[in-house]
Symmetry: none
Amino acid sequence: MSARSDLATRREELMAQIRQAAIEEFAENGLRGASTQAIADRAGISKTKLHYYIASKEELYEQSLQSIIEIWSELFHETATDEGPEAFLRSYIGRKIRHSLEHPEVARLFTNEVMRGAPMLRDYWPSSREATMKAAERVRGWVEAGLIRPVDPVLLQFNIWALTQHYALHLTEVRFMLGLGDEASPDPEPIIAEVTELVLRGLRP
Amino acid sequence: MSARSDLATRREELMAQIRQAAIEEFAENGLRGASTQAIADRAGISKTKLHYYIASKEELYEQSLQSIIEIWSELFHETATDEGPEAFLRSYIGRKIRHSLEHPEVARLFTNEVMRGAPMLRDYWPSSREATMKAAERVRGWVEAGLIRPVDPVLLQFNIWALTQHYALHLTEVRFMLGLGDEASPDPEPIIAEVTELVLRGLRP
Amino acid sequence: MSARSDLATRREELMAQIRQAAIEEFAENGLRGASTQAIADRAGISKTKLHYYIASKEELYEQSLQSIIEIWSELFHETATDEGPEAFLRSYIGRKIRHSLEHPEVARLFTNEVMRGAPMLRDYWPSSREATMKAAERVRGWVEAGLIRPVDPVLLQFNIWALTQHYALHLTEVRFMLGLGDEASPDPEPIIAEVTELVLRGLRP
Amino acid sequence: MSARSDLATRREELMAQIRQAAIEEFAENGLRGASTQAIADRAGISKTKLHYYIASKEELYEQSLQSIIEIWSELFHETATDEGPEAFLRSYIGRKIRHSLEHPEVARLFTNEVMRGAPMLRDYWPSSREATMKAAERVRGWVEAGLIRPVDPVLLQFNIWALTQHYALHLTEVRFMLGLGDEASPDPEPIIAEVTELVLRGLRP
DNA sequence: GATGAATGAGGGTTCATTCAT
DNA sequence: TATGAATGAACCCTCATTCAT
């Protein structure tokens, strides 16, 4: 067992390394600007070896996007939903910002793709829209129950999205403005507190 | 005089065309991913001609960034500041979002640069920080005057920034979720209303 | 006039050099086996320069095929047709073999493409078929007039084609069997005489 | 004994598969254009496995050529020679064309090599020349016996060679001109009849 | 000022072959 | 015997930039 498992494990580990390297490089330079040489360097392997494990740069890009969507989907569905807006939003905003600060490249790659006009995400939009509409329904329920003031439930989602993504996209700026070093990660808690407070108060009936 | 002026005017017009083309191309593909051929095409000139008017792709990129910063600086300083937080925020958020929706490429290019780690903006950070600190001071004044609840004045700026930039960065997604066509611009007013309301209510003492 | 003409002339000369180099390389190694480096070397220019003048290897290949077809078409139509089969065949076979021995690469490239299954010539077959049918009609006329014995007019064309192409394709072998040097061209006249005699006698009523 | 024999048999079968695959691939794409991957695919094995059984692509190419020469040599020597030119030529032309149409890849590979300048056949030419000279002697005998008209006995061999090879090389074109499907094999008999008639009549004293 | 020609460096990818097991 | 992993060389082609006129 150990031999087979070792081989499979090795391959998976390498693929994980490659995917991580790819996400970072694509996040920084976009699909066009990313080079397979740079991805290989980040993954610590040769360009030829990289190409042994991937079909093409484009396919690797698509897989990277796919893995991001899965990560976020899990993050959203792990959040309990039946305890009212305050509990839900506190939990979701906290998780989202913490993840953003730990893995800013994830949000960056996504934003990069969307800024290009999202040509690779066309197929994904419909299912994303469905999820948005389902969430909107829940927000409407909160409004009708008088738990929050009347809001546009789609724009609310955009706004929360904006607030939680921002700290990943602009981490460099945030670090500088908060007087942190180039590699230091800012303490997520004050940021979470501030964003949560803004949203919860902003929604009060 | 007219001859010289005509020449000078022509040159300036051409440079403006080039800069606009550059901002669009850089916004979509980043510094690395942008091609001078694509910029030339967008500007309606030949690649050789483009290179006659610019020193290098990098320099053109820097100029593009510079012009963005000027645009935003004007936008900020045109907003009257001495009528209290509500008037100021209503005005600023409105202007910012309107501009974002009309010229999404501006916000996109900036975010693109920041996501890369902002290597070209190192020189600009200090003066930006100064402006941020000055604005923070004003926010503190509002807090002390009891006009808004106590908030972290720097994070507040990030949050407003996040909310107003988002609609430029994610315009493609926004369009899709709102059921608009690929080229249609969404009506900015409902968005402005929703964002303004969230911020103003979120800041109530 | 001289300046413009010189420029245009230079370009045309270079293109002719490139086309010739391409035909030779493609004739020897086929589309897949040919390398743009080898074509550039044969043309006496750098690979980069070659790629400045061509769109792609495939397109250059197509142009090479196209130019061959034109050459042969001219060769066929230059032959007078209204003086009966003997005069026509003597003239055509002579021209064809002379050309074959002088430019064996032309016949070779064509055969190379046909041997692959002729994927690039699909578009050309129909018009070729038309020409074949028209020629077949003429042969039928000869038969009816009692000038030649009854033959399948299409297979006759194939056979003449086979006999005149062969000396281009197998020039290396022919040279060796005739005891010639590696670069020497065999005297075409005895070959022409022998082939012509075989065909004319083979067609006698 | 059976075990050893089975193993040996298996190996030989596999080698035959490989050789056939190689001939087809080399016939279509030449030595340079052929890929070991494509040969492996045609043989139904993995590229690694292929390389386990062959020393190199070049060596496999040489073996392929060698096996072709053996095939043709057998084909020639199986033809009875002591019944005069007509019987001999009828038999040989028939066999040759039938084989050409059944195994066009054989003739194609050979022609491909010759068109390249036959660098791999240098060693083979002398023995081939010897055979040609022997056959020429026999033709001269026929001429002296008044069985056929005076002809150049070497060129006659080239011409017969040309006529019988052509239908293999240009099968694609032949199929199209005769209105056959892409995979259909034309009926060899009318072709044999026409070629035989042309040659026999063309040689009449 | 303007433009076609040219180029060295690098882009992504494939290839025949070897390694390691 | 057999196979997944690995690799250096080469492939076609594009790029930002410079040259020459």
